[in-house]
Amino acid sequence: MIHLVRRDRASRRMAVAAPLLALLAAILSNLLLFVTMGKDPAAVFYALLLEPFLSWSSFSEVLLKTGPLLLIAQGLAIGFRAKVFNIGAEGQFILGAIFASAIPVYFPQATGGWIWPAMLVMGAIGGALWAVVPAFWRVRLNANEILVTLMMSLIAVQLLNYLLLGPWKDPMGFNFPQSVMFQYDAMIPILLPGTRVNASILLAFLAALLAWIYMQRSFGGYQFLVGGLAPKAATYAGFSQSRAIWLSLLIGGFAAGLAGAAEVAGPIGQLQRSISTGYGYAAIIVAYLGGLHPLGIVASAFLMAALYIGGDNAMVSADLPVAAVRVFQGSLLVCYLAAITFVRFRLVRTKVAPA
């Protein structure tokens, strides 16, 4: 018989090992899956996990995708540690993109160095505003924020569709559902010449640093942790639960909105339907895979970005279906959730008492 026995204290070693074990388990189980689908496992492995790092151009694409994932996941993790589950970063991301796009859409001729920073500010405000609704309902009516944030994401998609098919459609765009191409000053400056990596990745790393200070060092972050671990202790101490809900959702929305703005003012350069390839949802996995720890999230965001690029490669070179990357991401989360059990528990083999 094998039992789970609670450890005397959380194991630091397991906390670090768990994501690595989960990655290993996810790779093995998915390779097995690809083999049963009749794909060549070596080719998939090469395309998915090695190719992203083998050329400068594909590595720079990994960095490009790391930015939004890192930014969104840092924002979400703060709320997750307070057990406020914002599942609607996707919608907040879209709203950020819409708010940011308002400037070049309405002032396409404007010039000046203020435009792209202003777009980032607009985007952050838009994302945070989208999170106001679930925060308000949760605090006032105790409506579950998981459902409300998720449904707000669906609304955001429809809002985006409405704008692109109607008022914001590029009149010269052959009826494609997309906005005008943004002017030069509406684009964030390129950081690494010859690539698409722009200055917004610095913002993502700055966010990681701020999150680290806030969550690991500040009393405000401490109150979040107490509220998440032991809500009754938070009430006992007099930490406001509604403040934690408001801040969690606003920070999450702010970061996701910023990421959305950086996407339209960066690699995409216009507002279109496919501005997000599921960043808002993938960031949930990134946050958990990083152990909800600001430094862990830096590593997991990078890993997830590499999987995005590797997945694109594998579709082309190893003939993998589109869904395979999503399956891989999902199984990574499942494996991780199983693995973190061992941070607080350990396996014990017990002798079966002789009957």
Partner: protein, 503 residues
Amino acid sequence: MPAPLLSLRKMTKTYGQTVANSAIDLDVAEGSIHAILGENGAGKSTLMKLIYGVERPDEGEVLWNGIPVHLTSPAEARRLGIGMVFQHFSLFETLTVVENISLIVPGSKADLAARIRALGQDFGLTVDPFADVHALSVGERQRVEIIRCLLTEPRLLILDEPTSVLPPQAVGLLFETLRRLRAKGVSILFISHKLDEIRALCDRATILRGGRVTGDVDPRQHDSHDLARMMIGRDMPAPLHLAPMPAGEVRLELAALDHTPDDPFGIALAGVSLRLHAGEILGIAGISGNGQSELSRLISGETLLPASRRDEIRMMDQPVGNIGPAARRALGFAFVPEERLGRGAVPEMSLADNSLLTAHPLGLLKRGLIDRQAEAAFTAACIADFDVRTSGPEAEAGSLSGGNLQKFIMGREISLQPRLLFVAQPTWGVDVGAATAIRQRLVKMRNEGVAVLVISEELEELFEICDRIQVLHKGALSPSLDPRSTRPEEIGRWMIGAVGVAA
């Protein structure tokens, strides 16, 4: 000599690193009341779980009527004739007595009702078979549990701390029932840490300390002092003396406080009034579940009153009914809640981080950031001053024993230098040594002029440390009683709401 009904040989059970039971021998004779005596954490409950088949021993042997048996489940134990009444009852409150019993005992309801009545007459366990359980008192519910066990005709009945939930009068009735059962040939294992009860009732006592047997005696031939020494390994501490103090100013006042909790199973408070002065200890007695948790949440500020009723609670002469716990602490209030894990402390956090919970205004923050050095220094001082046994400030709160965690929380709250200290169940699950230290500390606070409010189920504790006692029953508070001139039985009558009725 016939073989004992039940014999345990070298029973051993470990949980991780903790040895809960180590090579325990026990013989329970036919037709005897046998006490298992020990402090909290001595291994009593583990031993009973082994006997009842809830847990299996790592080593050791069980003999039933001299024949080796393997107890693999409670069903197996019941088949042999072992019944158990747990400390926490397992009855459905929405069902009647007979419905609850028919869930376990086969037979038609009319049949069962007749048998319940018959048993009640034989053993003094009167209870109406058709009464709803939610309407029964704690003592009556316990009777239902005992009847349910007896209907399976056990030869051995295990009772886990049966008196801890009963007012003094009901204890007498329970003992009478147990004696009658013994006369009918049923053996009883009686678990307790109350020495007087064991000397009054039991034929034999096995004493446990730290998971080992430290005595196997006839309790009637030893005085409480001897038994206590076997139980705690040293002499009982001397009782405390309350020096008379001049009454100081009022530090806490509840003025006809009414409150209906949001929780449908909560107890509504009606017209609760009290006044607590500087330099006195006021005890709130009463059986748990009579509004204690509702009252303590109102006093602590975890439950708030609307601003229009803020005058119903006053602290340091200010209305506080509508302000939260942190604001009340700023006025000089400190509170040790009855739940230590998850309320008074966060189990997954280190003691150092748990210091921050309420002690953060004591210079543990620097411009909004946590000052780790100050935090560790504060925690280390707390650990040293209050004799908390732990590996250090980095130990997780959840890894401490109940008594040590309680000492830590007490230490943290006392370090706030409160003018009004409120402690709920100060010694629940705390061993005798630590309990004495905690009580002495409370008296010291009182002597230094702090107003101390204590909610406790342990009447003896309240008699030991309180200047005045008020009793909470069904959400109503009795007038103030003087422990020096009031007999425990009278408090007991208030506890069961029978004042004015002949006991």
